[in-house]
């Protein structure tokens, strides 16, 4: 993307007034999307974002500037702006010789999205719309979206890192509205992988459309969700977001360092039921949060965070790990060149258990079965989290019975981790997600086998 010599000159300029560390992050991202809504191809959109972010670190202070001007002049101006923001005032420091590191990508791309005709992409949407509408007259609206992106990044820093990655992502989602006597309900399905258009060799959009439509239709007959504290069984795949919220964020070193996490100072302690092994793995081939290098040039890693209930380690980015004199865990990510990286999850999941999921349900006399969770939110300092149920059922006498309407579940991370008393042997990854932190969104994956939490608060309207 840019010549090594040029990058070296920019790094030297950034450290001229005495910074300790400098980094150049170059990004060139092309994206395209197509929206089919209200029985029409509403629009196709193409986007291009290209630029560089430069940071300089002096002591505890980071100076940052970004530019869309990738000429030498543009980069030098940004380098000086980043340096002056740190108010560094000393003699110039050393830039180590840049050494190109090639990290193998866990994602093999076969058909780059730009090589696929737009018409082929649009046809997927038309096909999905037809199938969804054919599921019943009660399906009154359908919206289907296709999106792809190709993001080339190059990261170089004064420690000598010089690394690049070519990240492709392809996403498809469909959302249906069903209308009945009790009003409208919605159902959604999505699939995404960090690969090209070959995604659709394995994924049948018609099947996704059917599932989304049935989710909406099922909810038309749903009862109001119960309210109060009860056992909750979370289905495989659809429930990984629980751990993303309940403990994932609390294990991010930037929050831990500021004592803004309930998990601060707990490494080596038992923080969860011994059934729980939690892993964050950026190397999971073809999973939504996988990449060759993170946005600081560090190869993706597989990190065990909690092993059999014991807290093993936090997740780290470059800044936080430098302060601790250790290596980054490959969790330094950023939404784009416009922002600084911070500690972010990749693919976060609970390792498989041993129990037949059917036994878990049969063993639950009353409670709620959640087939699919929506988004969630956590306060890492208190551990309190919420997340939405987008498909859920009552469990009565050990059987899944009636569907219930949407509602939130609320709980406390450390408490919930200790209240997991059954873990299924049916591990699966969930839908592609976008994790938001401090206003930045990055693609993440999550997964879990079926599991039971002995007590969660279900926030329904039924008394």
């Amino acid at each position: 993307m840019l010549e090594q010599d040029l990058i070296e000159r920019v790094l030297n300029e950034a450290l001229k007034s005495g910074g300790e560390f400098a980094e150049v992050f170059v990004e060139d991202k092309r994206s395209s999307s197509a929206l089919f809504d209200d029985a029409k191809v509403e629009e196709l959109t193409s986007g291009r974002d290209r630029g560089a972010g430069i940071r300089v670190v002096v002591g505890e202070t980071t100076g940052f500037a970004h530019t869309a001007d990738l000429s030498e002049q543009g980069l030098m101006i940004a380098a000086r702006a980043a340096a002056s923001a740190t108010r560094a005032n000393g003699s110039s420091s050393q830039v180590n010789d840049l050494e190109q590191v090639v990290s193998p990508s866990p994602n093999k791309v076969e058909t780059f999205p730009e090589l696929v005709a737009k018409e082929t992409k649009v046809n997927l949407l038309i096909q999905a719309d037809e199938v969804a509408r054919s599921q019943g007259a009660a399906i009154t609206q359908v919206s289907a979206r296709y999106g792809d992106s190709r993001r080339k990044i190059l990261v170089a820093n004064s420690d000598g890192v010089f690394a690049s990655d070519d990240q492709v992502r392809t996403l498809f989602s469909i959302s249906c509205v069903a209308t009945g006597d009790t009003g409208m309900q919605t159902g959604r399905e999505s699939i995404g992988r960090p690969i090209g258009f070959e995604l659709f060799d394995d994924v049948d959009v018609e099947e996704l459309a059917e599932r989304a439509a049935h989710r909406a239709l099922t909810k038309l007959n749903a009862r109001p969700a119960p309210s109060g504290t009860m056992p909750v069984v979370i289905g495989s795949g659809g429930g990984g977001v629980l751990f993303h919220e309940a403990c994932g964020h609390g294990l991010e070193a930037d929050l831990v360092n500021k004592q803004a996490s309930v998990f601060a100072g707990k490494v080596g302690e038992t923080v969860a039921s011994e059934l729980v092994t939690l892993i964050d793995d950026g190397t999971m081939s073809h999973e939504w949060g996988a990449f060759a290098i993170d946005d600081e040039g560090r190869p993706a890693q597989r990190n065990v965070l909690i092993e059999n209930g014991v807290l093993v380690d936090y997740m780290w980015d470059g800044l936080r790990s430098r302060n601790e004199g250790r290596l980054s865990s490959g969790n330094g990510r950023r939404q784009s060149y416009h922002v600084l990286p911070m500690v972010r999850m990749t693919n976060t999941y609970i390792a498989n258990g041993e129990t037949d999921p059917q036994d878990i349900i049969e063993d639950t006399s009353t409670g709620v079965y959640v087939a699919q969770l929506g988004g969630g939110q956590v306060n890492t300092a208190t551990g309190d989290f919420v997340f939405g149920m987008t498909e859920a059922y009552l469990i009565e006498d050990g059987e899944i019975t009636e569907p219930i309407r949407e509602g939130n579940l609320i709980g406390n991370g450390p408490e919930v981790l200790n209240q997991i008393d059954a873990l299924g042997n049916d591990f699966d990854m969930g839908s592609p997600g976008t994790c938001g932190k401090d206003g930045q969104g990055v693609p993440v994956g999550d997964g879990t086998p079926t599991l039971r939490v002995t007590s969660l608060t279900v926030g329904g309207t039924a008394g």
């Binding site: 197509a34 209200d38 029409k40 191809v41 509403e42 629009e43 196709l44 959109t45 193409s46 986007g47 291009r48 290209r50 630029g51 505890e60 202070t61 100076g63 940052f64 500037a65 530019t67 869309a68 980043a82 923001a85 740190t86 108010r87 737009k118 649009v122 609206q141 509205v177 009003g183 409208m184 309900q185 919605t186 909810k219 309210s227 109060g228 504290t229 500021k258 004592q259 803004a260 416009h338 600084l340 988004g375 969630g376 939110q377 306060n379 300092a381 208190t382 309190d384 989290f385 919420v386 939405g388 949407e406 509602g407 939130n408 609320i410 608060t457 279900v458 926030g459 329904g460 309207t461």
Partner: protein
Amino acid sequence: MKAELLKIAEAVVGKAAAGEQVEVVTVHGKETEIRVYQGEIESFTAAESQGVGIRVVQDGRQGMAYAGSLDSDVLNETLEEARDNASFGTPDEFQAIAEPDGVESVSLDLLDPSLANFANEEKIAMAIDLERSILQADTRIIGVESTDYVDSINTSAIVTSTGIRRANQEGGCYVAASSLASDGVDTQTGFGYSVGRSPANLDIGKASADATERATRLLGAKKTESGRMTVILDPYVTAQFLGIIGSTLSGEALLKGRSLFADRDGDQVAPNFLTLIDDPTDIDAFTATEADGEGLASRKNTLIDQGSLCGFLHNTYTARALGTSSTGSAVRSYNSSPGAGPLALKLTPGESSQSELIEQVGEGILIQGVAGLHSGVNPVSGDFSAGAEGLMIRQGDLAEPVREVTVASTLQRMLLDIQNIGNDLERLPMKSSGVSIVVDDIMVSGV
């Protein structure tokens, strides 16, 4: 900058072919973002960014393309992409770029010249002051996770082949802090902020007091019993709900059969003391603007008048498709095509202060914060359920703190169940102003 952006946009529009409508939006932003921690600068970001969004409508087919650059080669490529994208759209007779509609825009002075001249050292000092003030305010405050000073000056231009030509400039700044409190057993968090058009308007004292009080008053919070209760929503919480209610009144939701208020025009959807307006011409609103996302004059729209539903918000497309006129409610950023929705919502305030409302309510909960609204509210069905924290109200006074409960109802019922509106209108850094409201019969789930 306005002239420069207009010139670039005009040049692209000049390339419109016969029978082709072209709309070009050009933007430029300049931002300073300072984060301090423990008396030191943690990060200092100085940034300038630019972008272009081009929309082409040809024979009722729409195509869109954008780029984060205003270089001439990029502009040409973006126009070509937008044209190519348009060729795949389904022809739709109502699809069109906006045309001037004769509505004069209200002139708003949204850029305080002192903002551009404010020294970085002073901005840094404000953030450090705020952090120190919170740390010193209460012995139970154990830290401030982040304290930010942020300002930006944004300029944008829109030019269309249909005769629209307009440029706007606005500036704003804020300080915000996230605080941590502990009583040795329990930890709680709070936040405080202050928003203005110039750093001189920022109220560090208020931001500090809010951050301190919000965190400390929740210490020792517990779940409460489940049951139907009367709740008072803090202005900040009300504003979040208004944003969702506003989105259900979008002409786009109506047109596409996704509005729970479809066919309810003229119905009593709220008590008669409730009036909800969307007024981006109100200069005190954080999101005040002279024009909407299609370059039409922004205007005051009444959505609910004394409890009665009186309208939806339209952009050019939704208005044409539904046989009405645009309400100047196109919402977009440069990299998206226009949607339709609220720009600056406000409930007409009532008579009572929040403490008077607490006294009148007698028994209930003051909801200070909600979580999970993005996942817990379905704006199509109206079902909502959100995590909540706050303080119990007992015998007309604030009592013990509550956390880890949910509040649930439907948006339709909640509007009808509003019992009172406070007089504490608060301008917030979002599309909606806030005010305390009293809502009856909300299902609270706890133990």
